[in-house]
């Protein structure tokens, strides 16, 4: 495979439904360098790289490899040219072994025992780049960090000379991330190049040679990593706008009776057996926002599901608004005032085949306002849904349209409208702004703050540390199923929180 000495993107433009995701972007990547693609969610980083990998065809613009114009009609073309990509969402077959996953789509795989053949090469590459994985291990047993290694090895085995890593550290622990950075350095030392997509300043400064900043589909600037200042990068990312801090209303005095939520010794098993949440205890006062920060996979999902009654607790007690709610069904928990904004909106939050109106009462259709005995009050449901549609500015042709036809942001608004209606005792919000554009995300944040101001207690589970720091009254850092620390959010040092997230924290827990 020919070395990619330089790869140039010229005036790349791509529109989705009339909105430009990439608007005339030009970039060059050279052999031996790590180019970081920095920008907020929705800045167009992943779209640009999907174009480079042949997943999207650009509406305009051209791609040049070593000075010659090339046409990349699909991933197969990209792979042939030596371009490899590791997506944020891994493309692995859970029941296959590591070796079988690597053998897929690889040229020259023998007909007999393809896995065994490729295992040798995996060991060789693992050693060369310092990424240890066992070729015989079934993928479903691997951690997220190990799965990422498999994805990188897959790309390298296919002969990648230029490797695109899309938000690679979002699933990694601190030590896994430094392992990844070491592997990236070994690759560039061999003359390979790496494009590193991220929205995290710190790691971008740590690993890259050059930093290209995207903002709203355009290239805001390219700076060498050496000597680049955080402030300058932040300015390029945001275009100088200060992100408006969500307005937090006045706090409700905490002394008003029992806490909204008291969790004592909660232990929850994960999907693979061992405890994902172990012996967790905390309380949540009325009107308080407790932010749960942490690298994904440290038990946040299981915690949210257990609080919503979707996952049985092995041990521990749950008291909602002064009432013991241990072991209650999701419905009983709701009746006590527990609301849940689920992590996977499309999968868990709405029934796509039902109307917006039906979805607006999906979890509260039994409420006397909407049901007379066994019968539903259609008019009341429709009026209620129209209220949510109007209040939240949900873009839908009508309340009778299918919910599945709404965009992700509008679906999240619909769920938010449903789950935060009235003044619930507790709102468990799992990654409520994940995947939303900035406007929709700000809207969601302001609603959560407003609910807290009205007296609801909010448990905000989020991987976005900035979001947690901005909204929370207290910050809990979750690590390996426990709270490594619960800290009041005043003058909190960001670096200390990140250290705690990576497991390098004080032993004492609140």
């Amino acid at each position: 495979m020919a070395r990619i000495e330089s790869l140039e993107l010229r005036d790349i433009r791509k529109e989705f439904d009339g909105a430009a995701a990439n608007d005339g972007i030009s970039l060059t990547v050279r052999s031996g360098e790590v180019l970081a693609l920095l920008g907020e969610n929705g800045a167009g980083k992943t779209t640009l790289m999907n174009i480079l990998y042949g997943l999207y065809a650009p509406d305009a613009g051209e791609i040049l490899v070593n000075g010659a114009r090339v046409r990349i009609a699909g991933p197969a073309d990209a792979i042939r040219m030596g371009i490899g990509m590791v997506h944020q969402h891994f493309m692995l077959v859970g029941r296959h072994t590591v070796a079988e996953n690597a053998a897929l789509g690889l040229r020259g795989v023998p007909f007999l025992r393809p896995g065994a053949w490729v295992a040798g090469r995996i060991r060789e590459f693992s050693k060369r780049y310092g990424m240890a994985v066992r070729p015989e291990a079934p993928v479903w047993q691997l951690s997220a960090g190990e799965r990422q290694k498999v994805e990188i090895l897959k790309a390298l085995l296919k002969g990648a000379e230029l490797l695109i890593l899309d938000e690679p550290t979002s699933v990694l622990t601190d030590s896994e991330a430094s392992e990844l950075f070491a592997a990236v350095r070994r690759m560039t030392a061999e003359g390979k190049s790496v494009v590193f997509i991220s929205h995290k300043l710190t790691e971008v400064l740590a690993v890259s040679t050059r930093i290209a900043v995207l903002r709203k589909g355009r290239l805001a600037g390219t700076v060498p990593a050496a000597g680049a200042g955080r402030a300058e990068l932040a300015r390029l990312m945001t275009g100088g706008d200060v992100i408006s801090a969500a307005a937090r209303g006045p706090r409700i005095a905490e002394d008003a009776g029992a806490p909204a939520l008291a969790v004592e010794g909660l232990t929850v098993l994960g999907d693979l057996g061992p405890a994902a949440v172990s012996g967790l205890s905390f309380t949540l006062a009325r009107g308080e926002i407790l932010g749960v920060a942490g690298v994904s996979g440290n038990g946040q999902r299981e915690l949210g599901e257990a609080l919503a009654g979707l996952r049985p607790a092995e041990a521990g007690s749950l008291v909602v608004a002064g009432v013991d709610a241990s072991g209650r069904s999701p419905r009983a928990l709701r009746d006590l005032g527990m609301r849940h904004i689920p992590e996977e909106r499309l999968r868990l939050g709405v029934v796509g085949s039902m109307s917006v109106a039906d979805n607006a009462v999906l979890s509260c259709h039994r409420d006397p306002r909407f049901a007379k005995g066994p019968f539903l009050d259609r008019a009341a449901i429709r009026a209620h849904a129209q209220g949510i549609v109007d209040a939240y500015g949900i873009m839908t042709p009508s309340a009778d349209a299918r919910a599945g036809a709404l965009s992700g942001g509008n679906i999240q608004k619909l769920i938010l409208g449903r789950e935060t209606e009235g003044t619930p005792a507790v709102i468990v919000a799992s990654h409520p702004t994940c995947g939303l554009d900035i406007g929709a995300a700000e809207f969601v944040r302001s609603r959560l703050c407003a609910k807290a101001a009205q007296g609801s207690a909010v448990l905000l589970i989020s991987e976005d540390l900035d979001e947690v720091l901005r909204l929370s009254d207290r910050v809990a850092v979750m690590f390996e199923g426990r709270f490594a620390a619960v800290l009041p959010n005043s003058g909190l040092d960001r670096g200390r929180v990140m250290l705690l997230m990576a497991g390098g924290g004080e032993a004492g827990r609140d």
């Binding site: 009609a73 997506h87 979707l310 939050g349």
Partner: protein, 374 residues
């Protein structure tokens, strides 16, 4: 070049058009099959429809056969709405017939008709409901696939009925035939005029269609059923109890088939007999009824009449043209296959492919990779 694009929401007119188109294609394929069997396709088709819809006698027979089809079809519509693939209407019908016969043999003429007939229907509904709920329980408790379990129960019920009519329930008055004794007079359903239409069951079927429609669209239970069928994970997340809904809807589904079974033994045969005589495949044909009706209980009425007509027509050509009985199963299979193919045109709309460049853009959105570009 023609390509297919997903369409957002088919209108009622689209649905009607596609269903009609599918039925016509099914009939055309059936005509072709007749041709291959050596029958004149035009004459065979004419025989099917004149036998079932063009005479007073034929219409009466069509309505008679439509009764069990409508009842079972409504039941299957309910189950399918909740993504519960109850293929056991045949067995549930037999269970209903058996339960009703058991009661009838015990009651004899001890009660007057206004008391006895409702009891008979209640027993049949309970029999069908119990059998279907058993499959529901196996699913919720042991995660046994309901397609397989309901089918197995069909076969088991057929054997049970045979065992009863050849053995313990064999009627001394039936001169050696494997029938139970005939039902006592108060237990026999009245019919309309000279037809075989046992009207109490017909009234029950029409009332059930309306009730099922209300159940699906206007009640809390129907709401949960639609949610479970649309997205079981979201339904669970919203606090709905899938096991409870599963058991209840399976019971309702089987109960309706059980009512159909009562109609057959109390309205037509007046005794329990061979399983294939009690139900000439109504439980399977009801799958087509449910699908033609688009899982709408009200539309199950015309769909049941249509399929009833085809079954009557099938009998007619068997006699007049000497075609084998299996022809009707062939006919049904073709109809259902065409309906399934028609669904494609409800979800996708043909359009002419824009001739831009060969770099046709991949539809955006989920960002799933499209490995190959055509």
């Amino acid at each position: 070049m023609i390509e297919f694009a997903p369409r957002p929401e088919p209108s009622a007119a689209d649905r009607a058009l596609v269903t009609l188109g599918a039925l016509c294609s099914g009939l055309a394929l059936a005509a072709l099959a007749f041709l291959l069997m050596g029958a004149h396709p035009g004459r065979a088709m004419a025989a099917v429809f004149s036998g079932s819809f063009m005479s007073a006698y034929g219409l009466g027979e069509t309505a008679t056969k439509a009764i069990p089809l409508i009842l079972s079809g409504i039941g299957l519509s309910l189950a399918f709405r909740g993504r519960l693939w109850n293929i056991g209407a045949e067995g549930q019908l037999l269970a209903g017939a058996t339960a009703a016969t058991g009661l009838a043999l015990a009651l004899q003429d001890s009660l007057p008709a206004p008391l006895a007939v409702p009891l008979l229907f209640a027993a049949g509904a309970a029999g069908g409901a119990a059998l279907a709920a058993l499959a529901g329980w196996l699913k919720t408790r042991f995660r046994v696939n309901e397609v397989v379990s309901t089918l197995m129960l069909n076969y088991i019920c057929a054997e049970l009925v045979q065992h009863l009519v050849y053995g313990p329930w064999k009627g001394p008055s039936q001169s050696g035939f494997p029938y139970t004794d005939n039902f006592a007079a108060p237990l026999v359903l009245p019919v309309l005029g000279a037809t075989r239409i046992h009207w109490p069951t017909l009234v029950l079927a029409l009332a059930s269609a309306a009730a099922a429609w209300v159940l699906v669209h206007r009640t809390r239970f129907g709401f949960e059923l639609r949610a479970m069928g649309g997205n079981p994970d979201a339904a669970a997340c919203a606090g709905m109890n899938a096991s409870r809904t599963t058991l209840l809807v399976m019971a309702a589904s089987g109960g309706l088939a059980g009512l159909a079974g009562v109609g057959e033994v109390a309205g037509i045969h007046r005794h329990l007999t061979y399983p294939w005589a009690v139900s000439s495949g109504y439980g399977y044909a009801a799958i087509i009824v449910a699908w033609v009706a688009g899982l709408d209980p009200l539309l199950a009425v015309p769909a049941g009449l249509f399929l009833g007509g085809i079954m009557v027509g099938g009998d007619a050509i068997q006699i007049s043209m000497g075609l084998p009985a299996a022809a009707i199963s062939l006919f049904n299979g073709l109809l259902l296959l065409c309906l399934m193919a028609g669904e494609f045109f409800l979800r996708y709309r043909p359009r002419r492919r824009a001739r831009t460049s060969d770099l046709s853009p991949v539809p955006g959105g989920a960002g799933k990779p499209e490995g190959k570009t055509a």
